[in-house]
Symmetry: C2
Subunit: 463 residues, 2 copies
């Protein structure tokens, strides 16, 4: 087709319109300077000036004093899936969360991160509700105190002391969840563009959360005794991350436990490089014996501990906590009020009622025994299918294991999903996408049918 | 004192150290370029290069390839009080919130934004708790669905329809509070540095919340029928804000109601300037007759409605909602999961149980009658003291009024606080700090002693 004669000015305008159509230029973005574009297109600056003037008159672009020309309109809103690299949906962390949360009643969820309803203390919770309904002074109506329920904070301080973290109630801030606790800390400590370190593999929601803070996420390889200290030293030297987010006792997804040696070296490196650490202690009550805690070693100088009872009591009653330096607590409370006007006093009251009773301790002990049995059974079943555990966890709810024959976990997961079983493929947990042969199993969500479906899914994937 | 002989290089180094000590240069900040500093200090570039090299060797500053020299170390963490202009604590919004939340039992709080416990349906809440404790299918244990409790969302959709907002349950996302709802929307729509418009005067927590998003907050004067449309047009033209956050029915703090004319003009301007709007409808149930809703006029195209039941049912049971375009809801749910892993299913269940009963409607009707009486009494008492209401509100809980004799509301508030009465001085609500003679009164929190203390506080301030 012969193009009709086009003036040079028209051709510049067309170029800009084409870039807009292809979204290589987006609303709010700065255009090339007049000189740059003139050089690029081998045209005179006058031609470009004329084209920009006409595009401005058309309302396509706008001049901003002293700063050049910009595409009119606002940039598109933040989408978590846009911020990071595009992922196959079957290994998109948010998608896995939503699959597990939206799953139909009869779906099996060995890939999810929580216990089945039948393992949780339904009777005790109902009893506590009736107790609160009777108790004339319970907090059913008013906003809570800025730091949260005072008696619950005292209780949490005593619990932390049992784990070797010496802390007063004035260093504990209640939140609506462990996730909200980490979110507040990120708001407090991070600037957009900062670098933040997570474990690879590590809990996938940390990645989703950090994307919402527009920070750069770096991964440190995780070993059976904690983060790889050599690799960590190199990253701290070269990349200078601001914050490291990890879990200590029963690391998610590997089930590993931090060794005292690694804990000590990690804290020395953190001090040398001014690295702050968030230790997510959400699996604490699954431990039979206390593993080292970064917060205990460090005395909450540069470590902040967060936790909640979503795993051991109820995920429906939302209540988490932050244990941190007192001056940071003050600022975190201001941020909490500004962004949520405080956590639920009612949930705190219910949690306080449940923890107050000896029944919580008995419930947790029973749960540990039951988990140990389920762990043993799951390991047997996995080995029968040729699926190799990365380590034999000392407790907790997760087994991290490799598929045989180089099978791809995402493919196996897709095949299992077709039969109503939600698996957790390894790359969901891996920033470097280097865990394609792994799956994470929740031993409390592994009835026999899981392994039947898994066996068929593996066979189908091999074909 | 005679200064010892100092080399030119030393003097440059001393200059940098002095700026660091005075915090006119802070960790993470870029230093002046070598050429700039040489010109500024009338020294050769070689001298500055030498000084920068020695400061680099000392670990005080660092070179970043292609981008100049930066002060070593991390910037200090975000403090809400640092981000905005420094305010007298007595007119610092966060301080007022914390005063009200931390107040002792016998403190009177005419300055707070909620109803006294005795006005809230304690008996009904206790009954609903017992009902939930009995009901075998209630959500006491598991995480909720991503959007939140389906039956409650259906209920909310029907309520919105009664207010003229035609919306399906798939356009409703549950949150843990109205504040969290606005926070998620800000995360979704705003970039740091964006401009956001609020009412002046307006609800103070919007300012605190927006500071946490590092955006530039602009104010539009509020009139008895809504925002000043002339002023708004000018601001949209010149400043191009991205978002406007307001309440429609019973504006906080003025008690004003949006007129249909202003609502229509506002929406036309919003369309012309691509302005998005958050309408916080938290006072909806205090209305006797429905005032215009931006979300009803606009059909949720560019308006997002948020609300909660903290004011009419309980502030202890945290549950709010967002009503928005379906594509935005999807993204907001992803953000909610990433940053809080979902709202409390238990609170949603309790709210659902309370709203299901005819008793909620009766409770709210009774409350409106009681508020009308309290409003009448408060207006009489204020006029007796020469305090002039800005308008006579048609309902709601607030009276916005000017002190006589040019009295300063912050001073009067300080004097009243000494007698255990927390007032809300006007400048807490004013971005331009132009409401120094105003106080906001919560008519439900105004027993006779409030006016006795107020009278003495005014007399003392006059002296």
């Amino acid at each position: 087709m012969v193009r009709p004669v086009e003036s040079r000015v028209d051709s510049v305008m067309r170029t800009i319109h084409e870039r807009l159509a292809a979204r290589s230029l987006v609303p709010g973005e700065r255009l090339p300077s007049i000189r740059q574009l003139a050089e690029q297109l081998h045209l005179s600056k006058t031609t470009v000036v004329e084209a920009y003037d006409r595009l401005t008159a058309d309302g396509v672009i706008e001049a901003r004093r002293g700063s050049g020309f910009y595409v009119c309109g606002h940039p598109p809103p933040l989408s978590l899936s846009d911020v990071g690299p595009a992922l196959d949906r079957s290994i998109d962390p948010l998608w896995i969360s939503r699959q597990s949360l939206e799953a139909a009643e009869d779906t099996l969820k060995p890939g999810c991160g929580w216990l089945p309803q039948s393992w949780l203390p339904d009777t005790e919770i109902r009893r506590a509700l009736r107790q609160i309904a009777r108790e004339p002074h319970s907090s059913l109506l008013e906003y809570g105190r800025p730091y949260g329920h005072p008696a619950l904070r005292e209780q949490l301080a005593r619990r932390l002391a049992e784990h070797g973290v010496a802390v007063g109630a004035q260093q504990i801030v209640l939140t609506d969840s462990g996730t909200q606790a980490i979110d507040l800390i990120c708001r407090f400590l991070l600037e957009p563009g900062d670098k933040v370190l997570v474990d690879d593999p590590g809990y996938f929601n940390f990645q989703a959360l950090l994307r919402a803070h527009r920070v750069q996420v770096l991964g440190v390889p995780y070993t059976p005794s904690g983060p790889d200290i050599e690799a960590l030293a190199g990253i701290l030297e070269q990349q200078r991350p601001r914050l490291y987010i990890t879990n200590s006792a029963f690391h998610n997804p590997t089930g590993a436990v931090l060794s005292p040696l690694v804990a000590h070296r990690l804290l020395k490196l953190a001090e040398a490089h001014d690295l702050l650490i968030v230790e997510d202690d959400i699996f604490a009550d699954f431990e039979r014996e206390n593993a080292p805690r970064l917060s205990a070693f460090d005395g909450l100088e540069r470590v902040i501990q967060v936790g909640s009872f979503s795993k051991t009591l109820s995920a429906s009653v939302r209540c988490g906590y932050i244990a941190a330096r007192p001056d940071w607590c003050e600022q975190l409370v201001d941020l909490k009020l500004a962004t949520s006007f405080g956590n639920s006093p009612f949930s705190a009251e219910l949690l306080h009622e449940l923890l107050r009773k000896g029944s919580y301790r008995r419930h947790v002990e029973g749960m540990r025994g039951r988990l140990a049995d389920a762990m043993g059974e799951t390991l047997v079943q996995l080995r029968r299918l040729g699926i190799q555990p990365w380590l034999e966890p000392r407790g907790g709810i997760f087994v991290w294991a490799t598929l045989p024959d180089g099978l791809d976990a995402a493919e196996v997961s897709r095949a299992a999903l077709a039969e109503g079983v939600v698996l957790a493929p390894g790359n969901v947990f891996s920033l470097s996408q280097s865990c394609g042969g792994f799956l994470r199993f929740n031993v409390a969500q592994c009835p026999p049918r899981v392994f039947e479906v898994l066996e068929r899914a593996m066979a189908r994937t091999l074909l």
